[in-house]
């Protein structure tokens, strides 16, 4: 399998740039709909023509998916951001044919609980890559993250994603037909996953089989009235398992 990791890295870097830019503009009184719209606009202005999934924005308790039950609940809403609250921006552009999927968590002003959650997530981020080359199954990795979250006193929020995914593989995808979206997911997201058998592409609690490839990994936890996640590209190849962001500055080609 030959993939151009440079392309994935550029796609991810652009998504992160957009998220940071919009996060820096978010003000008290913004709605999730506004934030999501601005993030999408920002990336389109930087040349993104299509999305694996369009922007999501979750504010306050909705950043932990607290009280959210149906898929419709996850769509950007009129929920208004208040000072001190946590918010998450999540977007998956297809840039020059390369998919990336990022989740960016921050708050409007200082938030001690978020700082604790971020420290915990930083530890998970450090501990995850070796697990992918340890012989553990995908299902075991899912359960490990789940158990670590609960031991730390949080709740597992990634259980509420479709198929309860901790992550999903990403591939190169077509930028054509950018307007064909279902519930903010581009047709490409369905095709790139279903055409490859779907379930091996999703890191669920039942995942079996090999783990090599390019993944978007997204541990997502919930506290009492907020949530926090990170979502980044993890590469599992002959060189081992590593976060693609750690390869910035290198010329990449798998």
């Amino acid at each position: 399998m030959k993939k151009d990791l440079q392309g994935f890295l550029e796609s991810q870097s652009l998504a992160e740039k957009g998220a940071r830019e919009v996060a820096g503009m978010v003000r008290e009184g913004w709605t999730e709909i506004q934030a999501a719209k601005l993030l999408s606009t920002c990336l389109k202005d930087y040349g993104v023509k299509s999305f694996f999934h369009d922007a999501f924005a979750w504010f306050g308790e909705r950043s932990g998916f607290i009280g959210m039950k149906t898929y419709g609940d996850f769509m950007p809403s009129k929920r208004v951001l208040r000072p001190g609250e946590v918010f998450i921006l999540d977007i998956a552009p297809i840039f020059h044919g390369f998919v990336s999927d990022i989740g960016y968590t921050t708050s409007l002003g200082p938030n001690e609980e978020l700082e604790k959650a971020k420290k915990f997530l930083a530890r998970i981020k450090k501990d995850l890559p070796p697990l992918f080359v340890s012989g553990k199954s995908g299902a075991a990795i899912w359960k490990w993250v789940d158990s670590e979250i609960q031991e730390a006193g949080f709740t597992n929020a990634y259980k509420k994603y479709p198929f309860s995914v901790l992550g999903h593989r990403i591939h190169q995808a077509s930028e054509k037909g950018s307007h064909l979206q279902v519930m903010r997911f581009g047709w490409q997201s369905l095709w790139t996953l279903v055409s490859r058998g779907l379930f091996p592409q999703l890191l669920t609690k039942r995942h079996e089989g090999e783990l090599s490839g390019v993944w978007a990994i997204e541990p997502h936890l919930a506290g009492k009235d907020f949530g926090a996640k990170f979502e980044e590209i993890l590469v599992v190849d002959k060189a081992g398992a590593y976060w693609l962001s750690e390869k910035k500055g290198e010329v990449l080609n798998a």
């Binding site: 503009m25 003000r27 008290e28 009184g29 913004w30 709605t31 709909i33 506004q34 719209k37 601005l38 606009t41 920002c42 389109k44 202005d45 930087y46 009129k78 208004v80």
Partner: protein, 284 residues
């Protein structure tokens, strides 16, 4: 501060604005319309520059502001993002009060910016202009249809850009003639047509956002609003509080005798109303 044209690379495109006035004063952000340039605000710049920090951007594709290849970059959300960057550049710690004044399509941009700035905007002034939502909801007003005859022409593929490129000064003169702005009141600029060809794409960009404008209910902006309208506008029917209040409960409308460019035709009265607005308790 000596009046200067500043240019900066903003979100990958060269973006220009006139900067003048008192660096210590609150910011007045003037947003011009079509087919104008920031020079349309000359009477206001001269009146307010001793007390305020004046920022008057060249809209995307006008004058030294680099055109964009994508139509969407002329839309209200993209322009609002550019304006946020300009404000960050001149007011990096957001410590100064900011007022925004928009005319014509500049009013669409001003409304979009106000929605982003929220409480950070001390006041919004709209001169012969509407928000996109207000414009979209005028579909059932025949007096507006009659005035909007030129919009289908602006939506034709390539035609407005091509004609604007070939005859920029003539198009500007035509717009002023149709709008009733006599020669004596027009801005005295060397190449008045610099705001014609590429900025015409704003109409296409806004048309793309119309379905959303028709179906969404924007959250009300918290700042006070002053609407100044020349009542002999060839392009826009007079506004009503009914159509404005859902987007801004603290709105005041002042109807003046004048045309679409009332701030050129009757600058003393427009400036007086703005002076009053900027110094009202709660707005200052």
């Amino acid at each position: 501060m000596k009046e200067t044209v500043r240019t900066r690379r903003i979100r990958n495109l060269k973006t220009a604005w006139i900067e003048a006035g008192s660096e210590e004063g609150p910011i007045l952000l003037f947003l011009h319309g079509y087919p104008d340039l920031p020079e349309i605000w000359r009477n206001q710049i001269e009146h307010f520059k001793n007390r305020f920090h004046i920022i008057a951007p060249y809209t995307r594709g006008a004058g030294p502001s680099e055109p964009a290849s994508d139509i969407s970059r002329y839309g209200q959300n993209s322009v609002a993002l550019d304006l946020m960057h300009i404000l960050k550049s001149v007011n990096p710690e957001s410590k100064k009060r900011v007022y925004c004044i928009g005319h014509d399509l500049g009013a669409v941009q001003a409304w979009a910016l106000a929605a982003l700035l929220g409480k950070e905007l001390s006041g919004l002034v709209i001169i012969n202009g509407l928000s996109l939502t207000q414009m979209a909801r005028r579909w059932n007003r025949p007096e507006q249809w009659a005035r909007s005859w030129y919009i289908p022409i602006m939506l034709l593929p390539k035609v407005p850009e091509l004609v604007g490129k070939l005859l920029p000064n003539d198009i500007t003169a035509l717009a002023y003639r149709l709008g009733g702005l006599k020669k004596d009141f027009r801005p005295q600029v060397k190449s008045p047509g610099q705001g014609v060809a590429n900025p015409s794409k704003q109409y296409k960009a806004l048309a793309q956002s119309l379905p959303e404008a028709l179906t969404s209910s924007p959250s009300p902006i918290p700042c006070p609003l002053l609407v100044i309208f020349g009542n002999e506008d060839s392009f826009l029917a007079n506004p009503t509080l009914d159509e404005i209040e859902p987007e801004c409960p603290k709105a005041t409308i002042r109807i003046l005798k004048g045309n679409h460019w009332v701030h050129r035709e009757n600058p003393d009265e427009v400036n007086r109303l703005m002076d009053q607005f900027f110094t009202e308790p709660g707005n200052s």
